[in-house]
């Protein structure tokens, strides 16, 4: 297995089912195609707190970090 992708996959395991499902779906569809820049950004996104990710993905809150907006859009779109 691609260890890099393995790391991203494991770190997509979260404390909330909603996040698990969205992130897993995103990685399944797009994981292989992510270039190194996208991967790095995704890895940084995963550093954020579950509560914040949940608020951003559900559209309840706007993510204040511009670097994530495109990724968040893609995760939301599935």
């Amino acid at each position: 297995m691609d260890a890099d992708l393995g790391r991203l996959r494991w770190r997509s395991r979260r404390g909330m089912l909603e996040l698990d499902v969205l992130l897993e779906r995103f990685l399944k569809r797009h994981g292989e195609q992510l270039d190194s820049r996208d991967r790095a950004a995704y890895a940084r996104l995963l550093e954020c707190a579950d509560e914040d990710l949940h608020a951003w993905f559900s559209g309840r809150m706007e993510c204040p970090h511009a670097e994530f907006s495109e990724l968040i859009r893609r995760v939301r779109a599935g």
Binding site: M1, A3, R14, L22, D50, E51, R60, R76
Partner: protein, 587 residues
């Protein structure tokens, strides 16, 4: 033996609220504490708890720990141990204030005190008016609690092993637990952590069911470890279901939707709750609604190609109201069901939410096991706390807001007792290579090559059997079939193979280890459920619809070796007050 070893005073397996509260207690005693967590600590499932934590502070309405105790005993359908329940309800106010001092930002009343909201099952005066006992930190109580405890642990210099997976406990010849074998997920290398005391705080196990509200990490690892170490699992048949989880996924659609006027229909468009609860309809209690849905599905009135869900209709409420009052629910439905509830009903099914059962402990968090027909005794060096443990304060049914309390109260109690134990047992006992070798077999088993069933496929089969044969619709026939099917799958586990044997961040390997634990828990749950011929709390048996105190006012113990079931009495005697004798449970 080339396996690296590290030595600590205490090993805490699990970094949710339970594990972190215990670790904090230990670190404050200047003990050398290791916390192992398979995911980064603040991503533990405790973050998902939004509602709040119970304590009889009496800030909003009059309250008293003794009333809280009454509600908890009654809620447990009298299967809860009354000494543990008294202890928990008594210390709750002090420990919630302590959390506030640690920095949990509880929501406040105008007078500065902690705000308290009313939850189901809370009463004043032993069954009188509604009480308000649940303390929230906005709608992110679990998140606030977990982050606060993590910060406090960092300050107290707890040593964290993040992204390490605990494989098995290590026991010596005399039965002392002397640490655990863990796996560094990053490198794929095993590590032996030696400890004078070990705490299991690995959380719940509801992923044994295909539809569950729990995060993917809730695979019952600690219970699997205890069973493989020859220890019992208690009251595993008691699993709390929520009636409306999004079909195929399980995330909750709260009661609020039905409160606003949403209702359930079957594939014929019939509002079936009219048949089961003509008065309360869709707002009948959780177990009634769950069972009604299950009957509709069993009788072929489910929707979708597999007939495995019913529909929650809200579109008649109008898009304006939905967008205004139920924005989160709409978002969830759109994300996961893929449809807008303003136009299309939401597909839902009962979802497994909380495991009441777990590793049996006393009120100090010591794991207890029966000694050859004698009374139970503490397993030296081993503790358990939180959702993986069964102390038992929830008995047959947990009340909302009591589980966060459980993890704080018994996480702390376990920490206190572990420190005391170490004063009396100040040296690490030797860990024999043989014990490590034995534990390593659980890992090296996954190195076998060749064709076989895949992990995902086996998980799918297991979780479907549990859903079909052991969820809310339990009859003698359904469960007998379930026993047969799950035992077959348990045997076939031998034939499961990994195709990827790489080491670094091989998540497939971790999922295989989790599958092993899930199977242990599933078998325990299925066998315990099939044997209990009564209905009590969350275990409702269609062929035995009544509670049977004469024969069944007792805890189930399941042992892996030979699939044996044993029973032990409920502790009916509280610590200082009079017992609450079993009464019919009406609300």
């Amino acid at each position: 033996m080339g396996i690296a070893r590290r030595r600590f005073d205490c090993l805490v397996i699990g970094a949710g609220g339970g594990g972190l509260r215990a670790a904090l207690q230990l670190a404050q005693e200047d003990l050398h504490v290791a916390v192992v967590s398979k995911v980064f600590p603040t991503r533990s499932h405790t973050v998902a708890a939004q509602g709040g934590i119970n304590a009889a502070l009496g800030n909003a309405l009059p309250d008293n720990w003794h009333w809280h105790m009454y509600d908890t005993v009654k809620g447990s359908d009298y299967l809860g141990d009354q000494d543990a329940i008294e202890y928990m309800c008594r210390v709750a106010p002090r420990l919630v204030i302590e959390l506030e001092h640690y920095g949990v930002p509880f929501t406040r009343l105008d007078n500065g005190r902690i705000y308290q909201r009313a939850f189901g099952g809370q009463s004043q005066n032993f069954g009188g008016d509604q009480a308000a006992r649940t303390c929230p930190a906005a709608d992110r109580t679990g998140h606030a609690l977990l982050h606060t405890l993590y910060q406090q642990n960092m300050r107290a210099q707890t040593h964290f092993f993040d992204e390490y997976f605990a494989i098995d406990l290590l026991r010596d010849e005399e039965g002392f637990v002397v640490g655990a074998l863990v796996l560094d997920i990053e490198s794929g290398e095993p590590l032996v952590i030696e400890a004078k005391t070990t705490l299991l705080a690995t959380g719940g196990a509801c992923r044994i069911f295909r539809t569950s509200s729990n995060a993917m990490i809730n695979t019952g690892d600690g219970i699997g470890m205890a069973l493989r170490a020859g220890l019992p699992a208690q009251d595993m048949e008691f699993v709390q279901f929520h009636p409306t989880g999004i079909a195929g996924y399980g995330m909750l659609i709260s009661e609020g939707v039905r409160g606003e006027g949403g209702y359930l229909v079957n594939k014929d468009g019939e509002r079936f709750m009219e048949r089961y609860a003509p008065k309360a309809l869709d707002l009948a209690s959780r177990d009634v609604v769950s069972r009604s849905i299950a009957i509709e599905l069993r009788e072929g009135r489910g929707c979708g190609p597999d007939g495995d869900h019913v529909l929650l209709k809200v579109d008649h409420l109008g898009a304006d109201l939905i967008k205004k009052r139920l924005p989160g629910i709409r978002e969830s439905a759109m994300h996961f069901a893929g449809t807008d509830p303003c136009e299309v009903p939401i597909p839902v099914a009962p979802t497994a939410h909380y495991s009441m059962g777990g590793i049996p402990t006393n009120l100090h968090g010591q794991v207890v096991a029966p000694e050859r027909h004698g009374p139970e005794e503490a397993v030296p060096g081993l503790y358990a706390a939180g959702e993986c443990a069964c102390v038992s304060v929830h008995g047959a049914n947990r009340l909302g807001g009591n589980s966060l309390l459980d993890i704080i109260v018994f996480g702390r109690a376990a920490g206190e007792h572990m420190a005391e134990y170490i004063r009396e047992n100040p040296y690490n006992r030797p860990v024999a290579d043989e014990a490590v070798d034995r534990a390593m077999q659980g890992l090296s088993r996954w190195d076998r090559k060749g064709d076989g069933i895949s992990v995902a496929d086996m998980y799918d089969r297991m979780s479907r059997v549990m859903e079909q044969n052991c969820s809310v619709f339990r009859t003698e026939e359904v469960m007998a079939e379930g026993v047969k099917r799950i035992l077959e799958l348990e045997e076939q586990l031998e034939d499961v193979r990994l195709s990827d044997h790489s080491r670094t961040f091989n998540t497939a390997r971790i999922e295989a280890l989790e599958l092993g634990n899930l199977m242990e828990v599933a078998v325990a749950t299925m066998l315990s459920a099939a044997a209990r011929t009564e209905s009590r709390g969350a275990h409702s048996h269609v062929d035995y619809p009544d509670r049977d105190d004469k024969n069944w006012l007792k805890h189930t113990l399941y042992l892996k070796d030979g699939h044996v079931l044993d029973y032990k009495p409920v502790r009916m005697r509280p610590l200082s007050v009079e017992a609450f004798p079993p009464k019919e449970r009406v609300y």
